[in-house]
Amino acid sequence: MILDSKIPAGPLAEKWTKHKFSSKLVNPANKRKYDVIVVGTGLAGASAAASLAELGYNVKAFCFQDSPRRAHSIAAQGGINAAKNYQNDGDSIYRLFYDTIKGGDYRAREGNVYRLAEVSVKIIDQCVAQGVPFAREYGGLLANRSFGGAQVSRTFYARGQTGQQLLLGAYSALSRQVANGKVKLFPRTEMMDVVVIDGQAKGIVTRNLITGAVETHAAHAVLLCTGGYGNVFFLSTNAMGSNVTAAWRAHKRGAFFANPCFTQIHPTCIPVSGDHQSKLTLMSESLRNDGRVWVPATQEIAEKLRKGQIKANDIKEEDRDYFLERKYPSFGNLVPRDVASRNAKYVCDEGRGVNETGEAVFLDFRDAIKRDTRKIIEQKYGNLFDMYKQITGEDPYEMPMMIYPAVHYTMGGLWVDYNLMTTVPGLYALGEANFSEHGANRLGASALMQGLADGYFVIPYTVGDYLAQLAPTKVDENHPEFARAKEEVKQGIERLLKINGNKPVDYFHKRLGKIMWDKCGMARTEVGLKEAKADIQALKKEFWSNVKVLGTNEELNQTLEKANRVADFLELGELMVDDALNRNESCGGHFREEYQTPDGEALRDDENFAYVAAWKYLGEGKEEELVKEELVFENVKLTQRSYK
């Protein structure tokens, strides 16, 4: 099978304009005859549902939370990029495109990334019009800051709660369409399967989380806006409910899964404190604009620090190693996330970690407070400092923060073409759920940009092109495929409830997370990955014979919800390992220790691996088939990323 990315021909800057023009349109009077299902109500889902309803389509929107406003986009702190060049500092659409391609270590498509940069400017306009209170300068115009990996100030922000404000903007647009009767909302409802008829997606199967009712919903197109799969690691910065189930079930129905091993480890998270830990908290990387990352210059000093014999502030300037500034003089503390994370791991592996577990580095604001005054730092980061104090009990105005990398984002996801359509016609994936724009590493403030670009400005065009080719007649929910898919979902639930083993779901999830973190995390080796594969297979077997899921289906049953999600994580984990084993190179967030430059940087192999690895599901217990989409670079020259 050959994967067709459907990137339009022609010059980069004209592709999207040309494509929009050549896309078919649905007659305004016919739009009300088409039904669209949107699963997930984060930035991608809420913006897509609202925009499609505004156009006149009938939308059903689903989320597992109690309200669409809870989706995990809400937790994004730092900001959203846009090539507005309001700061007159040399930004442009092309530069944002270039930075994103380079930041992704040349593993994304030029056409997609350029379109993202192109529509980025419209996102800010849209959000401001909705009443999103972005930060402003005294003159009343919008403020910008620079953000990890960028040398221009193109990041728009709303204090440390940019994701919240953007999501509430999209949620408000969605709410307006609910009031208009164009969107029907299904909160506390989880997608359990996709219904595929004659090779096309025609609906979904859901479980009502309150009553347990398993139901079917028919539509002409299904949009999965269900986020990433970082929770496969158990500990991550994702919300507790974030899961891969919708994407994974779609994968099992024929949607290829692309680059699953590309996961992002975020450098600035609060370190783990104990076994009870349920999640990790991110401290926005905007902190790296003013904070300086360091560890003691020697193991001996670090040892004393860990034993509590000295405090951070006792350590003299010459005994501090500002390792990012030392190794990367031109980017310093603002190197991309993968580089910052890996270097934190290295200094900790050398025994220079600064907390009790030895897995933490300092992020110090002492010099910034001296330079700018405490008041300025408070204005910029007040809520983040408060949050840090709340969690750790320490005051970062007085003592340097302690940080350590944690899983934060997954660049991999369902394979989609330029239209955001998966390999199943009529089934789309938007936002973090797809694989398409960030390559092997995502730059800061680009996730919000992508989610909203997909939902507001891409899908309204591309889904129309598909719908225009379908007859405007209702999808028949009495088709036997609906009943069959529903029955299979019921059997799957039954199977989990019947096991009645001895161990709670979290026991398995934690063990899976540890395997993934140790062997498929920040640094990977062939030996480790092979061990991981065997470990996961054994764990999966144990799960299906010894997990304990109490209660029944016909009630609110949070254990059953979790068990259902963990079952899918176990299968995904194995595919991530396969993908990491296949990719015999290092790029972005995927670092194979066998492939590095003499000074320890990721060593890409463009000759053999400049492709998207898309995986095709072949059935229970079978190895998946690798299908390659070669990446074509016509505009940028592939170079070794250097931030020195």
């Binding site: 309200s67 306009d125 849209q126 009443g131 402003r136 909160p187 949050m387 609110l556």
Partner: protein, 249 residues
């Protein structure tokens, strides 16, 4: 630490419900409150007892999904969300009482889980600027004084958790509703629909069965995001001037 937990258990909306008592030992001060409940739930599961159901998601204090009425206060003793509350705020041997939000408009679903969809309906009544995607002016076309933008942001920080309702003896949703009304009344983008918005959102709030505001300030005191009751005063002005002059409703 060893703690005694008195937790509200209720099988479903129809069940009468009641308190059950549990002992949590080996509680570490570094645990979050919800992690303490996670550990309890794993123990209950191993014993074959139904785990305690509670709402939670981001565990970063921003999604607004967690609730819990702890020792008579929404989100417990500190002005944070429950997920950000850590066990160092409690002492060894203490008895902790955990209840769901109590309000007519927030019916209990199970145990500590309540239905807060009334908040969604208040937003649906008018908590938006009616602009479609596309065709909007450039973001810098309308300058907004920083002080105004900051005030709007102060109001916009509401996470919709419902602590204000749980804290209020009248179960009033004035703080929640006024935060959205204020945000949009302050910004130039919200001016066109300013009057209808205040009227419709207040009407929906009343229709949901939330109580009246008697200015006790309990909502502001318990709000994990520090939303100020000056927003309520602003909403009252918005509402009365809308009612006096509008031809909307």
């Amino acid at each position: 630490m060893k703690l005694t937990l008195k937790i509200w258990r209720q099988k479903n909306a129809a069940d009468k419900g009641g308190f059950a008592t549990y002992v949590a030992d080996h509680v570490s001060k570094d645990m979050s409150f919800l992690e303490m409940l996670d550990v309890l739930n794993d123990q209950l599961t191993e014993k074959g007892e139904d785990p305690v159901h509670f709402d939670h998601d981001c565990r970063e204090g921003i999604c607004g999904m967690c609730s819990l009425y702890i020792n008579g206060k929404p989100h417990g003793p500190q002005q944070t969300t429950t997920c950000q509350l850590h066990m160092r705020s409690f002492s060894d041997g203490e008895t902790i009482t955990i209840e769901p939000w109590r309000a007519k408009a927030f019916p209990v679903v199970k145990d500590l889980v309540v239905n807060r969809s009334a908040f969604d309906r208040i937003i649906q009544a008018g908590g938006y600027v009616s602009v479609n995607t596309g065709g909007v002016p450039d973001a810098n076309e309308i300058p907004i004084p920083k002080t105004v933008a900051d005030l709007a942001m102060d109001a916009a920080q509401c996470i919709g958790c419902g602590a204000c309702v749980a804290a209020c003896k009248n179960a009033s949703a004035m703080l929640f509703t006024s935060a959205k009304v204020s945000q949009l009344a302050l910004l130039p983008q919200g001016q066109v629909e300013r009057k209808t918005r205040a009227e419709k959102m207040v009407a929906q709030m009343d229709a949901e069965g939330f109580g009246a505001c008697t200015n006790t300030g309990a909502c502001e005191a318990e709000c994990p995001k520090g939303i100020s009751i000056t927003n309520i005063a602003r909403m009252n002005r918005e509402y009365f001037s809308a009612v006096a002059s509008s031809d909307n409703m």
